[in-house]
């Protein structure tokens, strides 16, 4: 598509919310304007928390994703088949049109031996090998969660298994959805946009602008406390947590307006600081997570 006018990110997000995008995609599929596309969900070295977060999705939910939006081909956590039948199904997509979603980091140490995702014709398949194979021929690649976007916690110092984000092993555009985990709406919205219009407008680090355009601090409901210099000195206070290490000022993501788990709460709403899980550099660049008055002298 043409380069969109991005002067006002709020306008963009209002026009293209996850549910309106998904409904549009659905009606286009129903009316035969769009064909259902294949989706492969590849888990690498991580905690498998992004597929669990995806199951928390609502409007659209997981059932809708696999029955109406896509041909959901593979997820290690959810596929009925196991062993050879499962791995054959995974690699059967090569040569067809498919979107690849990846969670978890790529472990490079000893040629990937620290993360084996299955056996193909009797031979062990490393995460490294799988992501290269599937990532090269996919129509789109979406890195879901911090480990896939930049290594995340799997790459925390001293990075015992030499984990990296998937971009480091793929010479192609990778759409990046940092977060620990990725919010289901960030994935569903990005996917719906891809189905409808192709690649969604991205920032200079390949994050979709409709979710990652504005820092938490800019839209924080506790911003007025910051402006008036009223700061929390410990967890559990209902004021600004800037001085106890809140990473909202450096983390561009829509948590303040979207919130989590059916939009009921979020870390700052829970009287705890943002730990910058949706920003590159998480976790090492965001620590310490918990400190008491970072501006105190002595």
């Amino acid at each position: 598509m043409d380069t969109p006018d991005l002067q006002c990110p709020y306008q963009e997000s209002r026009l293209k919310t996850t549910s309106s995008l998904v409904n549009q995609a659905k009606s286009n599929i129903t009316n035969g304007i769009l064909k259902k596309r294949n989706l492969v969900w590849l888990e690498l070295n991580g905690c498998s928390g992004n597929i669990i977060s995806l199951l928390n999705g609502q409007d659209p939910d997981f059932q809708y994703l696999i029955t109406q939006m896509t041909n959901f081909i593979y997820s290690n956590s959810l596929i009925a088949a196991e062993g050879t039948a499962a791995i054959d199904q995974l690699f059967s997509v090569i040569g067809s049109d498919y979107i690849l979603a990846v969670e978890g980091a790529v472990s490079l140490k000893d040629n990937g031996a620290y993360n084996i995702i299955g056996r193909n014709n009797g031979k062990l398949v490393t995460g490294l090998e799988a992501v290269k194979k599937l990532g090269t021929s996919a129509s789109y690649v979406i890195a879901v969660g911090a480990c896939a976007t930049h290594g995340g916690v799997s790459a925390a110092r001293p990075n015992p298994t030499h984990c990296v984000g998937i971009q480091s092993v793929l010479q192609r555009k990778v759409i990046k959805l940092p977060g620990c985990p990725c919010h289901p709406d960030w994935f569903m919205g990005t996917l719906a946009y891809t189905l409808l219009y192709g690649e969604s407008p991205l920032d200079n680090r390949d994050r979709p602008l409709m979710f990652y355009s504005t820092t938490i601090h800019e839209r924080c409901p506790r911003r007025s406390y910051f402006d008036r210099g009223i700061f929390a000195s410990k967890l559990g206070e209902e004021t600004c947590m800037f001085k106890i290490g809140c990473r909202g000022p450096v983390t561009p993501i829509d948590c303040p307006v979207r919130q989590w788990n059916g939009h009921v709460n979020w870390p700052i709403g829970d009287d705890s600081p943002c730990i910058g899980c949706a920003q590159f550099g998480f976790p090492d660049a965001m620590e310490p997570f918990i400190s008491y008055d970072t501006t105190r002298e002595g």
């Binding site: 939910d61 059932q63 620290y114 056996r119 001293p158 788990n261 059916g262 009287d271 705890s272 008491y292």
Partner: protein, 458 residues
Amino acid sequence: MTEKITINPVTRISGFLEIEAEIANNLVVNAQTKGMMFRGFEKMLLGRNPFDAVYFTQRICGICSTAHSMASTLALENAMNFVPTEQGRYLRDIIHGCEFLQNHLRHFYQYTIPDFVKLPEEYPLFKVDHMDYRLPKKLNDKIAKDYFDSLDFSRRAHQMLAILGGKAPHNHGIFIGGITSQATIDKIISLKSILSEIQTFINEIMIPDVYEIANYYSEYYHIGKGYGNLLSYGCFYNYKDLGTLYVNPLVYANNTISVFNPDDITQDNEYAFFDYKNDPDIQKQHAYSWVKAPRYNNVPFEVGPLARQWLSGEYRHGISVMDRTIARVLEAGKIASVLKILIDNLIPGVSVQKEYVVPEKSSGRGLVDTTRGALGHWVYIDDGKISFYQIITPSAWNLSTQTGNMKGTAEQAIIGAPVSNISSPVEIGRIIRSFDPCVSCATHVYTGGELINSIQVV
């Protein structure tokens, strides 16, 4: 004639697992469970701020992150000689209980049901690789519908978790003292309302579903027993005013229940990919897995819902694949009733947070039973930083590698099982899933040269 079969990946679990089994005359005569991933969390934690362990260790596991926030908080409180208030305990135990519900709903419907129930095959995710589906079509289709209906309730369990914990997975609520925020009337009534819906689903749909499956697959009451040793660190227990709502720290072996003693835990790495200094060693001779071998009194133990149901006296029908699955479902109902009591005892508007100070030098341990069983975190603090961290997860107990000639818990449960069709060994998958394996939890260990039994705890 003995034939060797390999299942890799074992799907519908958390993380990556291979099972190798030798089969003679349609019986499994030998088995190895192999954890296929490693990240090294204990090494990563060295030098970090001890308080950060609460959020950091949750990233070990996406499906049971709350468990790690519980164990790390308990270990830190132990190191700080800090005793939380009862309100603090209620609040964090409610968060923990919500995670039990989320896990059990998803493990039963999304991970276990596809072994027994044919899901709509027009969707590629549900293509079948075996023919052993026995339910009459009407019943099959009813439970297939429940597979999808359950998604709403597991999501709602995480929503309850987020009401007190900020978000899920990887909550922000559980911390030293209890939780970060306060209970308020609107939160309490939200929790009660959601819980009541989940409780109805468990009692009216989930429990009948598991017994329907058990009727058609009744030989699984006699498959997959294993050693029959059961262990729990206890959970939802020993409240000052409420007493024990679920299970105390107990063990069951040789037909006897006795009190659990944490000093009797050891961990071995004879067949795991670690060298004599406990550094990863992928070339190690005879090693076959990233999972070590925790032992209690030098023998393997089973942990998880069946162990807890048995030790608490709630369910003592037997020890098998089907008993494990039924115990998990019944436990969901039990946890829902425990949650109701805890929520009813909340006092709104009580802050449990203080400005805590990291001890310069100390050590602590946090042991608690979590969804999949007994979880332990051990921490050493030196110069105000983490100088040692050790985690032994429930799946490390259940998926443990062998020591000497003694097989791990799940390995022993697989040995002796019938396999009617060697090209489609559905029995093995059913046995291993009855343990609800979480390999991302089981295989991060890295002990930095110390055996667990050498730790002196304050």
